[in-house]
């Protein structure tokens, strides 16, 4: 043992290498979240699992979500749509390591995901002259150089996730066409068709769709369980009320929608802001800032388990037990069953997503 360790270290030193930091190193945050501050500026915060703020970085404009590198304590924080910047952050030091700018004729949607080996970053983008979704590919080893892109399989790709232990990615194509010349005006509501598209090596391997009578339900946010199930949250763009806002799908399977009693469903105001699986994959949690509600669902039965109130709640991420929550009011803390334990933070209006690292 002693000898083995010594010879291993000897080898490292002989090669002139210093072991690179990993996520396990002390000081690395457990979560990332973007926020607005009282003076109107925007920041990105690293947050510890005790909900203390580990670091705070200024952002040039409003942020949205972030993608965590699978190995190094490094994350990429994205501008809110139709933003064109992303920042690569060293999550131990809180320093900016690189900046990404979307190519001419593209803007980011606010989400991205890394390949299993961490060599490639994939970003959801809008080719707005063509009105098509694109997935941009960036080489992490070359200081995040843009190396390619491919069709997202739909319009308005929003969140992208990698399935566990694979290089298969799932993209939520929200279906909504926008063009920066008209701000955030939605251009194609009558004809929108959202889908979930699965990719391997840039090729679609499967597309999951929802019934035609739900075509105005924009699939926007997704979560992936350790078993490879994909939970998705929707945003209703039609008049009146949707029949569901949450669904689940697995490669090769059928889309299953959550059963939500009508009043509880209507309380969500047609809008899911974020979605997460619990650490054990048995529970799906979704937030509605418009309704000020958190719903948890039994992921097996797809039935509503608990309803919890929190004004302007939006960010949600798994904890070893239960979920971590953030709200635009500044509240941050955890949810265990129906029980919330929150701290108010007047210095931060927490933005859309809480990203678990």
């Amino acid at each position: 043992m002693q000898n083995g360790r010594r010879s291993f270290l000897g080898g490292v030193l002989a090669a002139g290498l210093i072991p690179k930091p990993t996520w396990a190193d002390a000081g690395a945050p457990a979560y990332l979240a973007a926020a607005a501050t009282p003076d109107g500026s925007y920041v990105l915060c690293g947050i510890g699992d005790d909900f203390n703020i580990v670091f705070e970085l200024p952002l040039p404009a409003r942020g949205h979500a972030a993608a965590a590198h699978p190995i190094r304590p490094e994350a990429v924080a994205f501008a809110r749509r139709p933003g064109t910047f992303a920042l690569v952050i060293d999550c131990v030091s809180g320093q900016i390591k690189a900046q990404l700018h979307s190519p001419e004729g593209r803007h980011f949607y606010g989400h991205g995901a890394f390949s299993q080996d961490g060599n490639w970053l994939l970003t959801t983008e809008n080719d707005y002259e063509a009105g098509r979704g694109r997935i941009g590919v960036w080489d992490a080893a070359q200081n995040y150089k843009r190396v390619g892109e491919f069709d997202s399989g739909g319009i308005g790709p929003h969140e992208i996730k990698r399935l566990p232990a694979s290089d298969t990615f799932v993209v939520a194509n929200g279906g909504i066409d926008t063009h920066p010349d008209s701000g955030r005006t939605k251009l194609n509501i009558p004809t929108m068709r959202p889908n979930l598209a699965y990719f391997k090596e840039g090729e679609i391997v499967e597309t999951a769709t929802i019934p035609q009578d739900m075509h105005k339900n924009s699939i926007r946010h997704i979560a992936v369980s350790a078993a490879g199930s994909v939970a998705f949250g929707m945003q209703w763009q039609g008049d009146g009320h949707p029949t569901a806002l949450v669904g689940q799908h697995q490669l090769g399977g059928d889309v299953v929608f959550a059963q939500t009693p009508e009043n509880a469903l209507r309380d969500m105001e047609g809008y899911i802001g974020s979605i997460a699986y619990a650490a054990d994959g048995k529970t799906i949690a979704v937030t509605s800032p418009r309704g000020g509600k958190v719903h948890t669902y039994d992921a097996q039965k797809m039935t509503l388990r608990d309803v919890s109130d929190l004004r302007d709640v939006c960010g949600i991420a798994p904890r070893p037990q239960g979920f971590a929550l953030t709200a635009g009011s500044g509240d941050m803390g955890y949810l265990l069953g129906k029980r919330q334990q929150l701290n108010a933070d007047p210095q931060h209006q927490w933005d859309n997503h809480l990203v678990a690292l």
Binding site: T185, R220, D239, D312, A327
Partner: protein, 338 residues
């Protein structure tokens, strides 16, 4: 004990008075703001279709006047995007704009070139792409230098008659639904399943106010403004008909009326809102730039930017003061939409 009850009764009085007065907010907004606008839209659209039947030439003054009246009526109702306007995507069929990729001129050109017989019948025409329907398509047929004379004259005439008849049918359907069904659903919220409470009705009304203001600021003004380095005069709404500025004025006049209705018994709030609207309208009165082509010159552009800021100030007032009064969540994330 008696003292205590008396004090409680006194302190409750103002709240009770507001609640009672604001019971009228829904009824007044529906009867005085919404129904008259859709009635005017249906009437002027009917006149437009009738005028086109006798006078379909693109340059016809009576046709253009009837078009202007009906389009005015649509803009005044264009923020009321819920219920009857959304059935079968009627509002989109009346108003397909913005058209960032030029689908309207493309689909009209294709119809004209092919002399597609679908344009022979308004009923059939409701099946064509929405980009070729409604007021913005008609603008191309009447005012675009190429499309107003494109193709066979008889076919062009038929197309104008059919598009106007389709507009009239859509507008009549919206009015009928409002009169026979939807007004009741809003005014008797407790007994309809569309809304669960009066609060939900007030929220629907409020959302249409703020969405209307946002559309005017971001799209009607934002599109031609583009960026300082790259203004985009050719993206202005209905610029061929010289209606860009007019639409901003009409939409502000109409949302002003709605904001005052929604402020209800809070006359101080109604006055503050009216003042903000009047500021923007006074700036517009001095602009004199009907098609917003002035965005290309710095001085005129600056005026338009100031107007955009004024509209955003109205929306901020609505979100911060009218929304909370009507029980609408206006949090950072609730307003995000992403």
């Amino acid at each position: 004990m008696r003292h205590f009850l008396f004090a409680a009764a006194l302190t409750c009085l103002p709240a009770l008075a507001i609640a009672q007065a604001d019971d009228h907010v829904i009824t007044d907004t529906v009867e005085q703001h919404i129904l008259p606008r859709f009635k005017t839209l249906a009437d002027t659209s009917q006149t437009l279709a009738a005028t086109a039947q006798t006078d379909c030439a693109a340059s016809s003054a009576p046709l253009r006047a009837a078009y202007s009246d009906a389009f005015d009526a649509w803009v005044a109702a264009s923020h009321l995007r819920f219920g009857p306007t959304e059935v079968e995507d009627r509002a989109f069929a009346l108003a397909f704009w913005p058209d960032s990729r030029g689908a309207t001129p493309k689909s009209l050109s294709a119809l004209i070139q092919a002399q597609d017989p679908i344009a022979l019948d308004a009923q059939e025409y409701s099946q064509v792409t929405i980009a070729a329907r409604g007021f913005y398509a008609l603008e191309f047929l009447l005012y675009d230098d190429d499309l107003n004379t494109a193709g066979d004259a008889a076919y062009h005439c038929t197309l104008v008659k059919t598009v106007t008849a389709d507009i009239a049918a859509t507008s009549a359907a919206i009015l009928q639904d409002w009169q026979t069904d939807y007004a009741g659903r809003m005014m008797d919220a407790d007994t309809s399943d569309t809304y669960r409470s009066k609060d939900e009705v007030r929220q629907e009304l409020f959302k249409s106010l703020t969405a209307g203001l946002q559309f005017t600021a971001e799209t009607r003004l934002g599109r031609p403004l583009g960026t300082y380095d790259r203004p985009r005069a050719t993206r202005a709404e209905a610029r061929r008909a010289g209606r860009s500025e007019r639409h901003v004025i009409l939409s502000l006049q109409s949302t002003k009326d709605m904001a005052i209705h929604l402020a209800g018994s809070d006359t101080a709030l109604a006055q503050r809102a009216a003042h903000e609207f009047d500021t923007a309208l006074a700036q517009l009165a001095e602009l004199d730039d009907p098609d917003f082509s002035g965005v290309d010159t710095p001085a005129s552009r600056l005026k338009l930017e100031v107007i955009q800021q004024s509209v955003e100030a109205i929306r901020t007032l609505a979100l911060q003061e009218i929304g909370p009064k009507l029980g609408v969540a206006s949090g950072f994330n609730a307003l995000d939409g992403d």
